[in-house]
């Protein structure tokens, strides 16, 4: 009995010495999807005399399955307020929390107020805020996000850090990916897939095999310049911590305001789920506000020959003042004013400032001024001959440079206006046009 026990101990020790396969315990730590769980079992035994030792070993392996999890959805940049008819763009970060790559879907819906419906919302998926790839995305389409989990971390050095992951578990993470670890985003600069552990014997075995040791995969991370901007400095036991890929959903919303007294509002709600379902996130709302545009126009007249007179007699000069006011918070675009020389009058034009008279109706004669409240420009009968403007205030002119009653007059107002098209009258801006006529 004593002898048997001694041999027993010898057998156990001999096992360590003889079986590198079982001693190196091939396998994979962590719970990332596609990690290989390798079990190697060895039997060591003696014959009846207790002298000849034999050994057999075998193995079985199981891969870790994907464990789906809801995405984390966060609005990074809300829709900036926009003018009616223009496009505003927001950015939403979608972050994976699973242990492996999965296919998700992001869906969005609109709830509008004071907008012409339907509004136009187009989506794109960006792999980074800037510098990544951008692909068109429609609501509910497939969206793949990678993920894995940590085995251990190497010491951070020179602004980057290497994370060890189970071999074969990169799970869609590639250089350039943005990944999130414990709520902090990093940029992936390099990856390696590693080598999975193996053992040559499987099934029913009568001999030992040879083992392949696992070479862990790695993900090298650096600060995410468009996100957390934090240099990686992970430490401690992070085994099993999820490394989830982040992609950005960019939504471009274009809408026209249907009211001239209220801003238009598009409340966009975004929700996500795994493609297979069952991992829905609560809807995140992102509100786009479009400014209503309300431009008022007022025309007044005064008799400059007989000040204070309510009427006029032939030969009197009347001055018209046209006031264009943008009282809304949105910018009005392509603003042009159509006017005409009143009946029984002749437009006053000439070489001097407006009202100098003596004009005969040639292109370069001045007849009006336009002021934006800061700058004033003289306007000639031909739109192209108006005063040069370092700050563009406006242009104008008459049809065929005529000055007789009934001649149409056009003014093009605002920044960006030309001698053929109106420009932008910005929110809260007031423009004043002045011209004179002489009663025939």
């Amino acid at each position: 009995m004593k002898r048997i026990l001694n041999l027993c101990a010898a057998g156990a020790l001999a096992l360590v010495a003889l079986a590198p396969g079982s001693a190196s315990a091939a396998g994979t730590p962590g719970s990332a999807a596609n990690a290989k769980i390798l079990n190697v079992v060895t039997v060591t035994y003696y014959d009846a005399t207790g002298t000849n030792v034999h050994q057999a070993a075998t193995s079985t392996s199981v891969l870790v399955a994907l464990k789906p999890a809801p995405l984390t959805v966060a609005v990074v940049n809300q829709f900036p307020n926009a003018d009616s008819g223009s496009t505003t763009t927001s950015l939403i970060a979608l972050t994976a929390n699973a242990n492996g790559q999965d296919t998700y879907k992001a869906t969005w819906g609109s709830s509008t107020q004071f907008l012409v419906t339907p509004t136009s919302i187009t989506g794109s998926i960006l792999t980074d805020v800037t510098g990544g790839s951008s692909t068109s995305y429609t609501s509910g389409a497939d969206l793949a996000l990678g993920a894995t989990s940590i085995v251990s971390v190497q010491a951070a050095a020179g602004g980057s850090q290497v994370i060890n992951i189970p071999a074969g578990s990169l799970n869609g993470i590639v250089p350039g990916s943005i990944v999130v670890i414990n709520d902090i985003s990093y940029k992936v600069t390099a990856t390696s897939t590693g080598t999975q552990a193996g053992y040559t014997q499987t099934g029913i075995s009568t001999s030992t095999g040879s083992a392949t040791a696992e070479v862990l995969g790695t993900i090298t991370i650096a600060a995410d310049p468009n996100g957390s901007k934090t240099a990686p400095n992970l430490s401690g036991s992070l085994a099993g911590t999820i490394v989830g890929e982040r992609k950005y959903l960019q939504l471009a919303d274009t809408a026209v305001v249907s009211s001239n007294t209220n801003n238009g509002v598009d409340t966009v709600s975004i929700s996500t789920d795994t493609k297979a379902g069952g991992n829905a996130t609560g809807a995140v709302t992102d509100v786009a506000t479009f400014f209503f545009v309300s431009v008022s126009i007022e025309k007044t007249v005064s008799n400059v020959t007989t000040l204070g007179a309510t009427g006029g007699k032939p030969g009197d000069v009347l001055e018209y003042t046209v006031t264009v006011r943008n009282a809304s918070s949105g910018n009005a675009g392509k603003v042009s004013i159509a006017d005409a020389v009143p009946a029984y009058t002749t437009l006053v034009s000439g070489t001097g400032a407006y009202g100098s008279g003596g004009g005969t109706g040639s292109a370069t004669e001045k007849f009006a001024t336009i002021s934006d409240g800061t700058n004033t420009v003289d306007i000639t009968l031909a739109p192209g001959d108006s005063e040069s403007q370092s700050t563009v205030v406006g242009y104008g002119g008459t049809q065929a440079n005529a000055i007789v009653a009934g001649t149409p007059i056009t003014f093009y107002l605002g920044s960006g206006s030309t001698n053929a098209q109106g420009g932008t009258v910005a929110a809260a801006k007031t423009y004043t046009i002045k011209y004179q006529v002489k009663i025939n």
Binding site: G11, A17, G50, T58, K67, I204, G240
Partner: protein, 164 residues
């Protein structure tokens, strides 16, 4: 002791081929990985084992080690040794079956003991050394020692691990 180790190593090398001509034990070994699936049949729940090829974190793998002596002589002092697979934690529970009682290691197979006798030392900040009973999650290896496997006999050894 060291001499004994070397001796058996040399013996193995020297005798593996010549011994083939004589009566000898031949122990085969296999291992199966299965997972438990709860089946509801006519309102009755039962747990069924199905082969595991993919398994989710926190799920349980049931390993069944099957050994059989296909030789014509009794195998003696058989030691079946199995490192707890990386990425899993040993589960101590009543599902462990088969005789004999397994022994465990918490130092990657350097030493083994019965579950109730496994302990390790922790040095407290005060410098005092405290002895802790090892728990199943500390186990790194499991082994069974079977004194005799008669020719033609076989057996199963089961243990369960939880995927991290």
């Amino acid at each position: 002791m060291k001499k004994t180790v070397l001796g058996s190593t040399l013996l193995l090398a020297a005798l593996l081929v010549p011994v083939a001509a004589f009566a000898k034990p031949q122990v085969t070994i296999s291992v199966a990985a299965e997972k438990e699936v709860t089946v509801v049949n006519q309102g009755k729940k039962s747990v069924k084992l199905v082969p595991a090829t993919k398994i989710s974190p926190n799920e349980v793998i049931v390993y069944t080690v099957h050994y059989a002596n296909k030789g014509d002589e009794t195998a003696t002092n058989a030691v079946i040794e199995d490192p707890i697979p990386k990425g899993t934690v040993y589960l101590a529970d009543a599902h462990v079956s088969g005789t004999p009682e397994p022994e465990f290691s918490i130092d990657h197979g350097k030493s083994y003991n019965k579950a109730t006798l496994l302990s390790y030392e922790v040095k407290l900040p005060s410098g005092k050394i405290e002895r802790h009973q090892a728990t199943s999650s500390d186990y790194t290896n499991i082994r069974w020692i079977i004194k005799e496997i008669p020719a033609g006999s076989s057996g199963n050894l089961k243990f369960r691990v939880k995927v991290k």
